[in-house]
Symmetry: C2
Subunit: 432 residues, 2 copies
């Protein structure tokens, strides 16, 4: 079967990535630095392209929040370029020795970090996401296939071209600008999701529906999360003022975030005391409350239905349920949650530790806001995404999410036959 | 939709696993110790069941190598029970703190290991594989759904029952023997591969065709490898005697193993010198040689065709090709190999380091046999399998392949709003 142009491009990218992984950290960092400088120099070209995208998007009736994400202004440019220079300052994530072990005299095993290979990034609207992920891939020696939303095409083209131009000038011809490619046609997404031979990891960024579509339509590994159904559980011994403060922040600080709380669970023994002040505080923030029967016995609110427990509102709506015990809270979360971020508010250390062990989520908190679940707040240096997988990286994922490892064994002619049978030599297995 | 009996069983197992993960290491180890004792005590019951399986398999005309794998005798029993006691002695792989970081005063982040959840193990013939993987899952707090070959059903039933009986006696009722389940019907495999909600990782063990079938028919993550197309590259400066010794061991020490060599690459500048003695040594071991044109200019052998470069013989057959440079060897391996284990034989350190960096395989070797690629030889304590994935674990995988992690954040009412905006508090990000 003959290969179409996209397949040829990605095959070339796949080959270029192998050479990129051999480039020293200094050269990869130089490209990043020059790209950051050039982006500032070419700001007018970038803003003009972005203006074209914005005009077309407004004409097409794109929703306000998406228009906001699409806008790439001076502030976003400065912040993206600062981000690139911070990435330059990070330690080289590849060629790092993680383990060194003598198997026998003169037979030395090491485990060394290396890039995953080729990353496929599919994202909506935000052109700054392109800069961030391309920079992280370059830093870590990975190739990148980008597919942005069609609404951002002109901006994404200009940004990709800067990465390509600088790479063409700095890298040797076997790498050049071939490690990065922007897919322009929507039809190519399906093709991209089938490139199991060339793409090692897909990172989708966008709405829940969008991420779910990606996950259901590829056999390539996906790093991300579809749902963010997060919980606060207010335990019997919770401090009232603290419970209200943390819950309000978790729900209201940025309701559209994946780590915002969607359901509050409250212990029956403190529900009468805490619910009135909690609901007053929520309503003061404009939050619509949907309560189960026991909640509605205490405060006036909309009845919650079964579907509420598994709904990610991403909005100023919250469901509240009264539970009998910490165990019941844990069961509710493990049943209806999305294994993202869940918090217990309690003075009881044993309850807190039990909750954090028993809740099967990427992030489990005690007495602090679920909104802390974020790579920057965790000090990861850079955020690749938040994963609810338990394979590979989990929770907020930094550069290590783009890293794999290989085993190197250096010997002097050792053979396995000598370590087999009745007169077998033994292994020393001495960590060095 | 009502759930069938299998779904109900696996749902119960999924719940039991959550409780199992909360059991202390002592209790998990106690179960392992008693299982090992009981297996030895009930040897006659086990051997009788195995005899029934063997008789039926012989009648059904099962191939000799499979019959050999199916036989579960005194030696295999002793070795399996010894293995279990070694697993008891390993450090607890879960509840380990990997990272501890102060985000701000009194806001402490930790990253702690935890089980992946429920493992699905699909294997052919070998009942000892059941004991090994069930022990590793128990040690690491994972639940396990087992599907063995129908030819081993009677043996597998007895072995599983021992795990269940001991677990029922030792664990509290919310765990009991529910963390392990043996699937008996072949039709249930397809169902198992669709249980994305309950099974977190599939580990297949068996033929290449079998593993490939599993990989192509599930969206659950698979830990394993379909192919093992491994290479030895004999570089221009290779020591002749060493080259022959390492290559013979890599090809002949156990040709049916996934880490045995299938293709030998040899540098043009030493081909004339080394090929005659290498081929003589291979033929003395009964190996059929398939050479490319330049090989056949030097020694008499069968012509290699294009398909040979991507064939895993698993037999006393080897393909040989002359290459012009280490770069060409690397390209050949990255094109035709299976990213498993590849070796360079050379005196040139720079060539060796380039080869090990540039070959994109799980295991890359210098001057030693590819047959070393194995969890026991690496000193991993126990082997879960060998993975050619670059996501999660790569190469020989020990207990850490069954481990994920979660982030715990312990605070005193901290909220994100205080770290946002113009008067934002800063993070300290101090590793503890």
């Amino acid at each position: 079967m003959s290969k179409n142009i996209l397949q040829q491009k990605i095959e070339k990218l796949h080959t270029a990535q192998k050479s990129l992984s051999l480039m020293g950290a200094a050269m990869r960092n130089t490209v990043l630095q020059i790209v950051a400088t050039l982006m500032k120099e070419q700001r007018e070209v970038i803003f003009a392209a972005n203006a074209r995208d914005l005009i077309a998007a407004e004409r097409a009736g794109l929703a306000k929040p998406l228009l906001k994400r699409l806008r790439f202004d001076e502030q976003k440019l400065i912040s993206a370029c600062d981000g690139m220079l911070q990435i330059v300052d990070l330690d080289d994530p590849i060629h790092q020795v993680r383990l060194q072990r003598e198997l026998d005299e003169g037979l030395i095993l090491t485990q060394e970090t290396c890039p995953i290979g080729v990353i496929g990034m599919i994202f909506e609207s935000r052109p700054d996401a392109l800069i961030q992920i391309a920079s992280l891939c370059l830093k870590s020696g990975n190739g990148i296939v980008l597919k942005g939303g069609s609404e951002a095409l002109a901006t994404n083209r200009v940004l990709t071209k800067i990465f390509k131009d600088v790479s063409n000038a700095v890298f040797p011809p076997e790498v050049a600008g071939d490690w990065i490619h922007l897919i322009e046609k929507r039809e190519s997404v399906a093709e991209m999701l089938n490139m199991t031979e060339y793409i090692d990891l897909i990172i989708p960024r966008g709405s829940k529906k969008f991420v779910k579509y990606i996950m259901d339509n590829t056999s390539i590994a996906v790093l991300g999360h579809a749902d963010g159904i997060c919980h606060c559980f207010i335990d019997s011994s919770a401090d009232q003022e603290l419970a209200v403060r943390v819950t309000i922040d978790s729900k209201c600080q940025y309701p559209a975030a994946c780590n915002a709380v969607e359901t509050i669970l409250i212990h029956k023994s403190c529900a009468k005391q805490i619910l009135p002040m909690l609901c007053e505080a929520l309503e003061a923030k404009g939050v619509e409350i949907r309560g189960d029967e026991r909640v509605r016995d205490i405060v006036l609110c909309t009845p919650a239905v079964e579907a509420d427990w598994s709904t990610e509102y991403l909005d100023l709506i919250v469901s509240i349920k009264v539970v009998d015990s910490v165990e019941q809270a844990v069961n509710h979360i493990n049943t209806y949650g999305s294994s993202h971020t869940d918090c217990i508010i309690t003075k009881d250390r044993d309850h807190a530790e039990f909750f954090m062990d028993a809740v099967d989520s990427a992030d489990v908190y005690w007495n602090c806001s679920t909104r802390f679940a974020d790579g920057y707040r965790y000090g990861l240096g850079a955020e690749v995404g938040i994963s609810t997988n338990k394979i590979h990286a989990r929770g907020p994922v930094g550069l290590e999410g783009l890293i794999s490892y290989k085993w190197k064994l250096r010997g002097h002619g050792q053979i396995v036959e000598d370590y087999t049978g009745p007169d077998a030599k033994g292994f020393t297995h001495k960590d060095l």
